[in-house]
Subunit: 343 residues, 2 copies
């Protein structure tokens, strides 16, 4: 079956420890010949080190845990790929926990599992849910107990090594809304994501801030509580039409595509009869017949940053205080938003 260091030792007539050292890259006192002899038999026997054993003795592994939301969303898979690329280059593998949109399974169970997997670090790219203060408290505690560097994509206020890599969603919401207002829209629908996500609430604050700044009253009726999926975007349109909105700010592009789909069915013309602005800037945004105006989130850049920071965290020995990085939005104005002409 799989050969071990023991097999090599037997073949070469050496001790296990000598073989171990010979195979190691660290400077040591094994003669060049022995070294070569060991290397050759290792190759011949198709030897591959058992990383479980290595990690057991080293108390660290070449594994990084990652928790992400539904990767069917291109925005998220792009992030995933960007992180993966950086880590793989440096010889790290990822143990993935991908969350289905439907079952956002218990955070605590997840952390326990991860705790078992003895990964050397963790990337927690799952949104912070603000409606569970108690669970979050425990989660924070458990995360810190892991004793490994953790990169989060929200402000978890963890007290352990790592970085918070965030995005200014509030500003994004503000800019998107302001743009619509500047176009002359006054009844602006707001299609939100899961209302308990911090990232959702921040976008909503931005929306309200813009309205306020321009003296438009906030109205609960113009807010449709979505969940970041295309389906809900589709369903929401009839509601918005009933509210006579002239523009919709969708909290992600995915839902905006759902709006497009419904608009086609209902015969609503974008942007003449309805302006739509999205959020994320997924690659598809530019493929639609009416390219989608959206708030750009530099997700690949963020993923790359996360990957690199992770490597630094893992390989630099000196302690660093927990870092923080905030990415800023910019507006990508394409064909789906237009000046509003009162009929």
């Amino acid at each position: 079956m799989k050969s071990t260091i023991k097999d090599i030792a037997r073949e070469c007539g050496l001790s296990v420890s000598t073989v171990s050292m010979a195979l190691s890259d660290k400077p040591n006192r094994i003669s060049a010949q022995t070294r070569e002899r060991v290397r050759l038999t290792a190759e011949r026997l198709h030897y591959q080190p058992n990383l479980a054993a290595v990690s057991l003795v080293n108390r660290k592994s070449k594994m990084v845990g990652i928790v992400v939301n539904d990767i069917r969303n291109t925005h998220i898979s792009s992030l995933f790929m960007a992180i993966n690329k950086e880590l793989e280059e440096k010889g790290y593998s990822m143990i993935c926990h991908v969350l289905d949109n439907e079952d956002l399974s218990s955070n605590l169970k997840l952390i326990k599992l991860i705790s078992s997997e003895n990964v050397s670090a963790l990337i927690w790219a799952k949104s912070l849910e603000v409606d569970k203060p108690e669970e979050n408290f425990n989660l924070k505690y458990d995360m810190e107990q892991l004793g490994i560097p953790i990169i989060t994509m929200d402000e978890f206020k963890l007290e352990c090594a790592g970085v918070d890599v965030c995005f200014d969603y509030n500003m994004g919401g503000y800019l998107a809304t302001k743009h619509l207002i500047t176009c002359g829209h006054e009844r602006i629908g707001c299609l939100t994501g899961d209302s308990n996500f911090k990232v959702t609430q921040e976008r909503l604050s931005g929306y309200r801030r813009a309205l306020k700044e321009f003296g438009i009253e906030y109205s609960q009726e113009l807010v449709y509580s979505g969940n970041y999926t295309m389906e809900v975007g589709y369903k929401s349109l009839s509601y918005f039409l009933g509210q006579n909105v002239t523009a919709i700010f969708s909290f992600n592009d995915e839902m905006a595509f759902g709006l497009y789909q419904a608009a086609r069915i209902y015969g609503v013309h974008i942007p003449e009869e309805l302006s739509i602005i999205g959020f994320d800037n997924v690659p598809f945004a530019d493929v639609m017949e009416v390219p989608l105006s959206t708030v750009n989130v530099p997700i690949v850049e963020m993923g790359t940053y996360i990957g690199r920071e992770m490597i630094a965290l893992l390989e630099n020995t000196e302690e660093r205080p927990r870092g923080k990085k905030i990415y800023k939005p910019d507006l990508l104005l394409r064909g789906s938003t237009a000046k509003w002409k009162r009929k």
Copy 2:
């Protein structure tokens, strides 16, 4: 730091082995009280078993390796999620190797890495490349050497436990092409994926088979060699227009979207001036202003099947001969293909 079974033993004044047994679900002779006492202190100490240690002694782990292509393609991320869902339910975690479209890194290196990770099984969802007989020979050998069940998504002809979960791409190519011919098209462009992939060649065979059946001569000029990405779809259109094609069979939906994008720029109307049929049926296919006709690949069903088979392979003890499952295509005719009216 992280507590171990030893800590529990000390706390309870018991031996390590007793604690191990008490914590185990297997039937054994530990008294109910001891059992409970151990359980409670384990909880109190936030004990989580070290799976590296467990797998070392059991010679198997709750880890499954997976190799997939670029998950930014919804078709692939859907597959990934479907597999993940089944495995996670049964307590298995996935070690992911996601391949970037650009760097299809060495298979052999990948297998070696996986061999180190001591996963209990492997899902090889990466396309078989037919132009590397030598590498494939070694790959096959190395895969078999892993000594674990392997599910592939191509016919690798492996001689180890597992299943080949395939799709009849040839039939898919045939049906798509036949549909276009039946619509009256004669100059049918063919936008292929990476030409060295078996799944690409099969589609191409299907295309040629349909042409032949209807007495249309195959012409090299009508075939544009792509790579399954939107960019190449975009770029290919001007070539196809130069060839005066009236329809294009795109080997996946992604590239078809690229064609859409280019068509908009060039002012080419779909389907009046150009019919397009894709392959995969990604969710977005239905969102475009002109919904994309495509060949349906039941990828979620396939993923679920793979997950379930994997569990069966892992948990049923009796030996089973290597299985094979072939999914069949069906045509989804939407708005992007139409009867050709000679001008």
